[in-house]
C-alpha cells in the first residue's frame, strides 16, 4: 500500500462539506415537499448554498494536490 498523507487529509476535510451539502439538500427537499410552488426560488438558493459549501471541499482538493 502506498499513498499520500495529503489524500487522507483531504478525505477528512471532505466530511464537513459532505454533511453540509446533505443538510442543504435535505432542507431543499422538505421545503419543496411543503410548498411545491416555491421550487423555482428554492432551487436557486439551494444551488447557491451547495456551491458555497462545496467550495470548502474544492479548496481541500486543491490544497491536497498543491501542498
Amino acid at each position: 500500500m502506498d499513498g499520500n498523507l495529503n489524500m487522507i487529509g483531504y478525505g477528512l476535510a471532505a466530511i464537513g462539506p459532505g454533511v453540509g451539502i446533505g443538510l442543504i439538500f435535505a432542507a431543499y427537499i422538505s421545503g419543496v415537499a411543503r410548498q411545491p410552488e416555491a421550487q423555482g426560488r428554492l432551487q436557486s438558493i439551494a444551488i447557491l448554498g451547495f456551491a458555497l459549501a462545496e467550495a470548502l471541499a474544492i479548496i481541500g482538493i486543491a490544497l491536497a494536490f498543491v501542498l
Binding site: N4, A62, F65, V66
Partner: protein, 184 residues
C-alpha cells in the same frame, strides 16, 4: 515530502497550469460563443417571436371570427323571431278579415234575399191588383150580358148598365169581404 516533490517533477501536477491548453480553451470557447451569438441565437429568437406572433394572430383572428359568428347568429335569431311575430300577426289579421268577410257576405245575402222577397211580394200585389181590375171589367160585361139575356130586359143603356154592375159588385164585395182579406 521531498520525495513527493521529486516525483511531481516527473509527473505533472493535475492542477498545474498549462498555458497552451488555457489559451486553446479560451479561443475555442470564444469562437463557439461568437458563432452561437452571431448565427444561432438571432435565428432562434426570430423564430420564437414569429411563432408567438403567429399563435397570437391566430387566436385574435379566431376570436374576431367567433364574435362575428355570434353577432350573425343573434341577428338571425332576431330575424327569425320577427318573422314568427309577423306571421302570427298576419294570421290573426287574416282570421279577422275572414270573419269580417263572412259577416259581410251573410249580411249582403240577407239583404238580397229580403229584397227579392220584397220584390216578389210587390209584383204579386201588382199582378193581383191588375187581375182584380181586369176581372172587374170582364165580370161586369159578362154578368151584364148574362143578366140581359136572362132577364130579357135590355141593358144596353150605358148608364143603367154601369149602375147595375156597380151595385152588384158592391154587394159581392160586401158579401166576400172576409174572403178577400185572407187571400192577401
Amino acid at each position: 515530502m521531498t520525495d513527493h516533490i521529486v516525483v511531481a517533477a516527473a509527473v505533472e501536477n493535475p492542477l498545474g497550469f498549462v498555458p497552451v491548453e488555457f489559451a486553446l480553451s479560451l479561443v475555442t470557447f470564444g469562437i463557439l460563443f461568437f458563432l452561437i451569438w452571431k448565427f444561432v441565437a438571432p435565428r432562434f429568437e426570430q423564430t420564437f417571436a414569429e411563432r408567438t406572433q403567429a399563435i397570437e394572430g391566430g387566436i385574435a383572428a379566431a376570436e374576431s371570427k367567433q364574435a362575428e359568428a355570434d353577432a350573425k347568429l343573434a341577428e338571425l335569431e332576431k330575424q327569425l323571431g320577427d318573422a314568427r311575430h309577423e306571421a302570427a300577426r298576419i294570421r290573426e289579421e287574416a282570421r279577422e278579415q275572414g270573419a269580417r268577410i263572412v259577416a259581410e257576405m251573410r249580411e249582403t245575402a240577407q239583404a238580397e234575399s229580403s229584397r227579392i222577397v220584397e220584390h216578389g211580394k210587390a209584383q204579386i200585389e201588382a199582378e193581383r191588383q191588375q187581375a182584380i181590375t181586369s176581372l172587374r171589367a170582364e165580370v161586369g160585361t159578362l154578368a151584364t150580358g148574362l143578366a140581359g139575356r136572362i132577364v130579357g130586359e135590355s141593358l144596353e143603356d150605358e148608364a143603367r148598365q154601369s149602375r147595375v154592375v156597380e151595385r152588384f159588385l158592391t154587394d159581392l164585395e160586401a158579401q166576400n169581404g172576409t174572403t178577400t182579406g185572407s187571400v192577401n
